[in-house]
């Protein structure tokens, strides 16, 4: 099993949208390596012909009648938002600055 480097932790943090600090990179690199080394024991199990289980109960599609049900009033979810404007969630800019 591959070991996990400081650079790889930085890559994972980017993928997971975590602005980790340099100090955290050092701590996490060692800890993640230890955890992954430990959980890698799942590979010892001979399971080539074993079907995977994603869910312990069989999942079936659930239908309901297409009826109007009361929902939340607009201001209820907005009351918990970090920023709201004109009855909507206000978010930071989505697009990058022009280079």
């Amino acid at each position: 099993m591959p070991t996990i480097s400081r650079d790889e932790v930085a890559h994972l943090a980017r993928l997971a949208r975590l602005a980790v600090t340099d100090a955290e990179l050092d701590t996490f690199a060692g800890q993640l390596d230890g955890i992954l080394e430990s959980v890698a024991s799942v590979s010892e199990v001979a399971a080539d012909d074993i079907p995977p289980t994603s869910h312990s109960v069989e999942l079936v599609n659930v239908f309901r009648d297409d009826e109007i049900r009361p929902g939340l009033a607009q201001q209820e979810p907005l009351a918990g938002a970090p920023a709201a404007e004109e009855g909507r969630f206000r978010v930071p800019r989505i697009l990058g600055e022009p280079e």
Partner: protein, 503 residues
């Protein structure tokens, strides 16, 4: 001398309220007073809703007919379930001060049953942990020894019971977060069959494993609470549309103390190296007690349980990395770095960095790794196959036995701080509880005496097949009565007195 209402069981309290011997308001006030007097030392609660609790109690006192067998009984709700009128934080800074606009189904059912919700209990952040030390709001302390952990993630719920702040609590169990806290605090905790209790309004950690369940000081109280919260819910697509197993009747039947005809399987793989000697001695005595009650004891082997911990610490973080993506600082909770020039992506990263604690970050990154291309088959895919093998081990074992037993956790309560820098040591607290989560089957932890080596509580875990909860309640209730008889009353009778702040 007046009775201390906080020492009564939920069943006793409900009976006295029903007969109008005491009012629900008096019962609620007694528990609010107790919280005010001892929670400075225990820190079981993140939020106490005195006003809401008293209003709910008044409604019970004014009702002509009791709404349920638990009407008027106070309860502590884990802060991972939403409740209108109170904050839900999941023990995380990222949700600090968030007031959910809706009730979880569990919360709604409690309200409908006239159960009085006292407040929200402390927990490891997003239910990730085995000690409650991962709460962003500081640890909860174990009433048996305030320098020790109350278990986790539901340490606030277990400690509130052991500190007599509430006779009932709700926990959630993804890898042991109800049963391990119950074991280390000398209380009762039940993980129900996956799909047995609605997950609507339960903030998701690992959706294929999370289950809410009852926590109490006696087996009967847990059964009464079980019947209030369980049952099909159209708002949860994974909720099982089947009758709730007759657990109250089973607890009453078990209390008669006759286990003749019941086959109990001792799981060979859940003992030995890494288990505290005092835990194993207490467990062996419990098995002996079951035999005296008439049960037939057999040894069973579940060879793949050994890999349960590894499979769990791949599956749960994988699901968590996806579930926790919703905490992006856009629709609720914390937002950091929104200075008018930063992009949404930068704000997300800064918010998540500031809002999540180290264990949550570790698990999100482990999950992100396990799901990445190139590693998926070796980690996540293989873990899912191990999950199949563990389910098959259970099926084979339940051919030979009606219930399976093991210690609930390998050690008694460890000291606060002892395992915080060693994630794997922390994870091993869930060694015995994880298999039932992976298989989706139910299990209960019931107090089984104090460990000889440190005088701290030990838990007996009893596992049953899917939707066969009545089996484990029957055995647990029989054992509880026998243990109380041979060991001088309920274990919690021996919990040290807490220092009280006078009113």
């Amino acid at each position: 001398m007046t009775t201390d209402l906080t020492r009564l069981t939920a069943a006793e309290l409900a009976g006295r309220i029903r007969s109008r011997e005491v009012s629900a308001v008096e019962v609620t006030q007694a528990h609010l007073d107790r919280i005010a007097a001892v929670d400075h030392a225990v820190h079981a609660f993140l939020h106490v809703d005195a006003e809401g609790a008293l209003a709910a109690a008044r409604a019970v006192d004014q009702a002509e007919e009791p709404a349920s067998a638990l009407a008027g009984v106070p309860l502590a709700l884990k802060d991972v379930l939403t409740m209108r009128g109170a904050p839900t934080t999941c023990g995380s800074k990222i949700l600090e001060g968030w007031h959910p606009p809706y009730d979880a189904t569990v919360t709604a059912r409690l309200r409908r049953a006239g159960v009085v919700i006292l407040g929200k209990t402390n927990m490891d952040e997003f239910a990730m942990g085995s000690s409650t030390e991962n709460s962003a709001y500081g640890p909860t302390r174990n009433p048996w020894d305030l320098d020790r952990i109350p278990g986790g993630s539901g340490g606030g719920s277990s400690a509130s019971l052991a500190a007599f702040e509430a006779p009932l609590a709700i926990g959630t169990d993804t890898g042991g977060s109800i049963r391990q806290p119950a074991a280390v605090t000398g209380t009762v905790g039940v993980k129900t069959t996956y799909g047995g209790v609605s997950r609507y309004g339960l903030v998701a950690f690992s959706s294929s494993l999370d289950q809410a369940g009852p926590c109490a000081r006696t087996v009967l109280d847990a059964a009464l609470l079980h019947e209030v919260i369980a049952g099909h819910d159209p708002l949860d697509a994974t909720s099982i549309d089947a009758p709730v197993p007759p657990v109250v009747a089973a607890a009453r039947e078990g209390a008669a103390g006759d286990l003749r005809g019941v086959r109990v399987g001792v799981v060979r793989e859940l003992s030995g190296e890494g288990y505290q000697p005092g835990v194993l001695t207490a467990f062996d005595r419990a098995v002996e007690e079951l035999r005296r009650l008439g049960a037939e004891v057999v040894e069973v082997s579940c060879p793949h349980f050994t890999y349960g911990l590894s499979a769990y610490y791949l599956i749960a973080p994988s699901e968590a990395s996806s579930n926790l993506a919703r905490f992006d600082g856009m629709r609720y909770g914390l937002r950091v770095g929104d200075d008018g020039s930063a992009s949404a992506e930068q704000v997300m990263s800064l918010t998540r960095e500031a809002g999540f604690g180290p264990e949550v970050k570790r698990r999100i990154m482990i999950g992100t790794y396990a799901l990445s291309s190139g590693y998926y088959d070796a980690y996540y895919g293989q873990a899912q196959k191990v999950r199949t093998l563990i389910t098959r081990d259970f099926a084979a074992a339940f051919e030979q036995a009606d219930v399976l037993v093991s210690p609930t956790t390998p050690t008694t309560a460890f000291r606060i701080g002892e395992r915080v820098d060693d994630p794997m040591a922390m994870y091993r607290a869930d060694l015995c509880t994880i298999p039932a989560n992976l298989a989706g089957s139910p299990a209960i932890s019931v107090p089984c005496g104090l460990s000889e080596d440190d005088g701290l509580p030990v838990g007996l875990q009893i596992m049953a097949p899917t939707l066969q909860e009545q089996r484990m309640y029957r055995v647990a209730a029989a054992y509880e009565v026998a243990r109380n008889d041979t060991q001088g009353g309920p274990l919690l009778g021996r919990v040290p007195e807490l220092e009280m702040i006078s009113q």
